[in-house]
Symmetry: C2
Subunit: 566 residues, 2 copies
Amino acid sequence: MKISKLVGERTKEIPSGVVAKSHEYLLRAGYIKQVCNGVFSLLPPAYRVQAKLEKIIREEMDKIGGQEVLLPVLMPKELWEESGRYTSIGSEMFRLKDRAEHDMVLGMTHEEAAVHLVKNTIKSYDQLPFMIYQIQTKLRDEPRSRAGLIRVREFIMKDAYSFHKDKNDLENYYNKVKEAYFKIYKRMGMKNVVSVKSDSGMMGGKIADEFMLITDIGEDSLVVCDSCDYSANMEVAESILDVYESQEGQYELVNTGESKTIEDVCKLLNVKPEQTCKAVCYYLSKSKKYVIAFIRGDLEVNEIKLRNLLKEEVVAISVDHPKIVAGYIGPKDFKEDDIITIYDISLKGAKNLVVGANAKPYHIKNFSFIRDYTPKSFEDISKVKEGQICKKCGKGHLKTVRGIEIGNIFQLGTKYTESMNMTVHNENGEEIYPIMGCYGIGVGRCLASIVEESCDEKGIIWPIQIAPWQIYLSPLRLDDENVYKTSEEINQLLETSGYEVLYDDRNVTAGIKFADSELMGIPLRVVISPRSLQNNEIEIVVRKSGEKIMCKKDELLTIIKNLIKE
Amino acid sequence: MKISKLVGERTKEIPSGVVAKSHEYLLRAGYIKQVCNGVFSLLPPAYRVQAKLEKIIREEMDKIGGQEVLLPVLMPKELWEESGRYTSIGSEMFRLKDRAEHDMVLGMTHEEAAVHLVKNTIKSYDQLPFMIYQIQTKLRDEPRSRAGLIRVREFIMKDAYSFHKDKNDLENYYNKVKEAYFKIYKRMGMKNVVSVKSDSGMMGGKIADEFMLITDIGEDSLVVCDSCDYSANMEVAESILDVYESQEGQYELVNTGESKTIEDVCKLLNVKPEQTCKAVCYYLSKSKKYVIAFIRGDLEVNEIKLRNLLKEEVVAISVDHPKIVAGYIGPKDFKEDDIITIYDISLKGAKNLVVGANAKPYHIKNFSFIRDYTPKSFEDISKVKEGQICKKCGKGHLKTVRGIEIGNIFQLGTKYTESMNMTVHNENGEEIYPIMGCYGIGVGRCLASIVEESCDEKGIIWPIQIAPWQIYLSPLRLDDENVYKTSEEINQLLETSGYEVLYDDRNVTAGIKFADSELMGIPLRVVISPRSLQNNEIEIVVRKSGEKIMCKKDELLTIIKNLIKE
């Protein structure tokens, strides 16, 4: 490919409002162009990288038995009503009417379409398990698209759906996909990838993992152990709590006046927040109930854990209920039907706490669970804090880092097969609902994430296996006949040897050529100059290391072959 | 691939309401599933064929210098307002609002997005010509989707856009694309493909060609010469008209009473329709003018030719104008500003016609153009009739056939570069608008068209180069240990030799296996049965010819290799 004909332009100016390196470089190096908020066109170099990413994904999906299909972007309302998601999903789904005024939606995910495709054609358990996948355009009306290709409204996604006869089979396959995902990211050249337990959100199901590329511009918070391989999304991370051991003291009612907050009460009674039990109030608007969440004073309630526990959306409120004494709430049995109490595990075995007395203006000192009150159960509803002990290894300390979500996998269960009434016969001839898993990778987001991880102050550094071209052929002084002839010859030699060459045939300075090759991130630059040709030599520059290699013309192929193998 | 795990089902029942063979077979053989009106999902076998079609297209586009890009499905209203098509295109364009109530459209074609992509980055004439293309989902709200994948509302399309410095360069490139298209169809295995001159419709521009696969279920009428290679869409087809030579007779006014139609006048005066001149009236609602189209009595006005001539939509009307004597209109100068007269070339040199006298109740006999009235010009506004003489070769007779449009190419001119203000510098440093061409192929429609052309009463007959699998491995009696072992061995042998094998591992009758392999259209069936194994023989059945070949096990690979090469 001659660069004089390559569509797209390289610029020095840093576009305004750009925060992510990948966004800046993909724009500046002529890879992408924004069409509107969250919608981009891909120029030829970006398309070339994307095609290579798709090929890697396809190969790994095929290796675990995936069958490629194509589900539609445009779907009728009725399909999404079967699963209930036409109403449960909000404005992130694009909706429209066709010419006959039928309600339609644009695919942001394809569980419904996947079940529709296989329903009635898969009839027996012995046709299970199977997995179908597609690589296709998705549309999602993100409220805040950002950072170039990282968060957009239109994107190419690989989504896969597997069907199983039982939970065990799903779990086995789920782990296979997990392995395949790590292989995919590795083959794409990503290094710092972890999988984290996550919340399944609108997908339904209980078990879900996200794949995170750890990088500072990531929008997700995750928790990793500094000793073992434990990692989890902040939303579901767990830890071992340090317990403050002490002798049980005397239960004592104290007048705390207008001191209601943990901060005020701690100051007044001279105790640390971890020596208190606080109450946080929520409202369940669907079942019209109040929730009092008790938790150790130094911790925060993780509302996602709370929602998953209660199986309903929770809203934090300033409580106003005749039986709840706001500011002085303490552990007790609330007999009212419209009040639910939840006790965090941080309170299990806790002693000598300051707690509310359920009467104004009093708190209790030296309150001990079990001795003074025993809740029905303790639940994990707390947010992990930096420095807590890892629950997996029991010794490492947890730290929080930022990551970009580059994939996710879900154990869906029977949410879709049940609601859409897809059954198969089991061994005994009974009808059962197949158990589903689903598995996504955003291709464009991977492309941008690779750039985030693999760049320097000069531009992109593509891993060679996914680079748009492997070699940037950069003759200096094309008006020199020897340079011209040698360049044409080398270009042909490299291309017929199967290498992808971007040939800078422009009549511009060496500075511009080198800067462009670095900005675009082409792994190897082959420089042909009048001076080096005097010694029959050619220069190779390795983008990643900056290493320069001088070689004789006839050694070029061998050296390049070795560099690419590395 | 083992058929027991293949997603999709083969059925004997002919689905109701199916008219096209391709629709029936693609449904019955488990290739496609309808999601809603004009929207289909592709099952794995169809996806495999489509991927091969895409590969062929990609290779041929790359050979003529195409650069693959990806333009978005979702576009903002503003982009389409630049070209004026936001308002000029009607309800075939899907429209929607995003969460911020911005008007958006879904891409049915991408001229605007293509110009947007390259505008400002291509600055000089020496960067021209170039061509960008994409293979991507298109959405078009067809009023009448039909015949399975033939006419749908969502489809994968290859669309390409070229940019040139002048008309000559566009014409050269246009012809290159035309050649590439014929190569593509040939490589896809289509035989009966012609290119026809066509109307450019909503695309703008003057020159356009459609590629037609000639088949009875086609929805387009086209005109072909039985002697040379002339072919054209009915909308633009031309012919040589037979002229009725005779001595000029005496101009004579006759009272025709209430006889107004050509039929009535012919009967009354005992002449043939070709000896008359009729007037057909239209209205131009934009410029508020009446059009009287004069044409020989046996011919019909081609409204598309008329529209292109007048550069405005025409509507046929029953005329009501004080200066027009409906039923008795004849050739003359209408002086009124709101009346336009057009004379078809069928009237050029015509003599002894019966024409209206522009006065009730009179016609004229023996009216001769030139002698009695000379219009400013004669224009081609007539529809071609079966049997007329070919204008290209001057001797063949024209016939009308039906075809499926499987691609189209347009010389767009500067419609989009001008309206979107894309300029480049020419040799003299002046700003010029690049001249564009655009080129489309519907991939799904090609897939269905191939089935239309290549099937029999048993099912599909895939051309081997695009078949989902080349070989259908069909063991009979898998419970026979020798059959089982040989089948596993052959399957492995074929797959490691690079062949794609669909392995029928089901415990069903030979009848079902053979019927399925024929319905699915797999080119070669390899049958392994207990009986033939006794002689160490294997049977190969060629789907297309029905030919059966018995061969020794160790000859199998060689014979298959030869069969596939053929």
